[in-house]
């Protein structure tokens, strides 16, 4: 219970920190970026929209910073993130609602596949250590881990979509079809294969190496030696004895890698013009759409924090030592 309370406290604290950073950043930057943005959109926006922007970015000098901070929280709790300038006159919240599912789907599937595949490869490479194939996996994993996401995306896009024509060049589904709902699924999968495989390939190595190191450590433990001595089948020791314990640190590593995978998927989305948060963020950044930018960062941070919280809960479920406050 104490663990649970601590985790909830941490979740709330990090959420507060992320939201506050989001508020402070535009105020801290030299040369007031909001002013630049306002100047850019002067005459193109309605007076109401302009005054709303002035308000949102603290250019309204009548209010103290503290009052602006209070207003900022009010706007967050009412879901009022203002009007997007890139997708004018859509509300930011509507633009987000359309793109969030794409990113969650892409990152979610990629993470599950990469985690499973990487962990299995890690188990294999640790268990068959000193065989040529298992040892060759290590440098290969290190190399894939060092490839820039966007660069691999570009190569895949060119090779498999442009040159070979196996996959579509852009987008998340076929926009020229009348199909809706589940009828769209084949088209969605067809569009998702390339972005998904880029993320899986570059993320796989990290999981593999973590699992490999854990497995090698666990393998030297007495209880594994005892299981061998007892004459248990190799397979059973591998999965039911060693891997079960070795996987725990991998789950802790989730928090960091999730942030990393999100970052990678943003770049991948940009290359494939995939209609998720990354692509929208890129549009927002290139057109100085600060309201949209702020809201995207907020959603990504909250998403990562909540996913992280659930990882901690799963961890406690798997490891009683954590639950009971032993570690």
């Amino acid at each position: 219970m104490r663990y649970f309370v601590r985790r909830i406290g941490f979740l709330l604290f990090t959420a507060w920190a992320a939201l506050t950073i989001n508020f402070i950043l535009p105020h801290m930057m030299p040369g007031n970026p909001a002013q630049v943005m306002l100047a850019k959109f002067q005459g193109r926006l309605s007076p109401q929209a302009l005054s709303a922007l002035t308000e949102a970015f603290g250019l309204n000098m009548d209010k103290s910073l503290f009052m602006q901070y209070i207003d900022y929280w009010k706007r967050i709790f009412t879901g009022d993130f203002g009007i997007s300038l890139t997708y004018y006159p859509s509300r930011v919240i509507d633009v987000l609602a359309e793109s969030v599912p794409w990113t969650i789907g892409l990152v979610g599937c990629a993470t599950i596949i990469a985690f499973t595949l990487g962990t299995l490869l890690g188990i294999f490479s640790a268990w068959r250590r000193n065989s040529a194939l298992a040892d060759a996996l290590v440098p290969v994993a290190l190399f894939f881990n060092s490839i820039p996401y966007f660069w691999l995306s570009l190569l895949f896009l060119y090779l498999f979509a442009y040159y070979l024509g196996w996959f579509p060049l852009a987008g998340g589904y076929n926009i020229y079809t009348m199909a809706t709902g589940f009828a769209l699924l084949p088209s969605i999968i067809h569009h998702g294969v390339l972005p998904l495989s880029t993320i899986v390939i570059t993320a796989l190595g990290g999981w593999m190496l973590t699992m490999r190191n854990n497995m090698i450590s666990v393998r030297a433990d007495d209880y594994v030696a005892f299981a061998h001595a007892k004459g248990l089948p190799d397979r059973e020791i591998k999965y039911r004895y060693a891997a079960r314990n070795a996987i725990l640190p991998s789950i802790t590593g989730f928090s960091m890698s999730l942030g990393f995978v999100i970052g990678g998927s943003l770049l991948t989305e940009v290359v494939f013009s995939y209609p998720g948060l990354g692509y929208i963020l890129y549009q927002a950044v290139t057109s100085l759409d600060y309201p949209l930018m702020q809201a995207i960062f907020l959603f990504i941070s909250l998403g990562v924090l909540i996913a992280n919280f659930f990882t901690d809960m799963i961890y406690a479920l798997l490891d009683p030592r954590v639950r009971d406050g032993g570690v």
Partner: protein, 280 residues
């Protein structure tokens, strides 16, 4: 004698040798860039979009710059950003990790909380947002932005190592001898975790190189500076792939991956050498 043995120990690790040689080679390329590159990186006096030839090993850009020269000169800034950012991250994580682990109590609570917050905040989106607010005119803001988000993992690892080291006898002896805490941390204990700090440095450098490339590819760096990331940015903006200038895109990206891999190999190798269980 000791150092000779240490050297042969390092040389017996294949990953360390390969990673070290690649890094050394790239450092030499960076130092001797003016000698190696046939032309200046921003000379635009050539015919645009030439395919690779004897005069232009990697062809020319759409603006008529020699791509090979750009790649050679780009080694300088790319490496600098990686190594400097890696050092800054290693410095921050060492200081915070060791201080938190040694003192414990509320110092540890506060520092660990800060570390954990930075650990879970998504790095690249934060960098993108910051880089979008400031107009980047040099690589300094890039270095700062990557350092802010890149130190937390190392701090966590070093803190837990500190927890296991601080109960050793030699630390107790130093406390009894009346040495000040900071001296104990940085003079007595730190040398015993140099391996971990070095591994941490290479890990951070890898993170820096990849993040830098990502930011620059999005056009958030100084697009007029010549780095591998900005070369990729221009290649993409000029549709290099579709114009049949694939080498313009492939070579800088491959070099980023190779540099990143040399950092990753060194990180892994140091880890292997200092963790006896991973040794064969």
């Amino acid at each position: 004698m000791y150092s000779v043995r240490k050297l042969s120990f390092i040389l017996s690790n294949k990953k360390a040798v390969v990673g070290g040689c690649v890094l050394l080679f790239l450092v030499l390329v960076a130092i001797f860039a003016p000698v190696i590159a046939p032309y200046g990186p921003n000379e635009t006096r050539f015919f645009p979009s030439l395919p690779p030839s004897r005069e232009h090993l990697l062809g020319t850009t759409s603006l008529g710059q020699d791509i090979f020269s750009q790649v050679v000169w780009g080694t300088r800034l790319t490496l600098t950003v990686g190594l400097v950012t890696g050092s800054i991250c290693a410095f921050i994580s060492t200081t915070i990790g060791l201080v938190a682990g040694y003192f414990g109590g509320w110092v540890d609570e506060v520092l660990s909380l800060i570390t954990n917050v930075f650990l879970v905040l998504p790095g690249l989106p934060l960098m993108i947002i910051i880089a979008a607010y400031i107009t980047v005119q040099s690589v300094v803001p890039i270095i700062v932005v990557i350092s802010i988000t890149g130190w937390a993992w190392g701090a966590r690892v070093l803190r837990s190592q500190m927890l296991t080291l601080k109960s050793r006898d030699y630390v107790k002896a130093a406390i009894v001898a009346g040495e000040p805490p900071l001296r104990i941390i940085f003079v007595e204990i730190l040398p015993n975790m140099l391996g971990l700090i070095v591994a941490n440095f290479f890990g951070a450098a890898l993170y820096a190189v990849l993040s830098e490339a990502g930011l620059e590819f999005l056009g958030l760096g100084n697009v007029n500076a010549v780095t591998w990331g900005t070369i990729l940015y221009w290649a993409q903006n000029n549709q290099a792939m579709l114009l049949g200038q694939a080498q313009w895109m492939v070579v800088p990206g491959l070099l980023i991956a190779i540099l990143g891999m040399s950092f990753a190999l060194l990180n892994f190798a140091v880890d292997e050498m200092t963790n006896p269980r991973l040794r064969r």
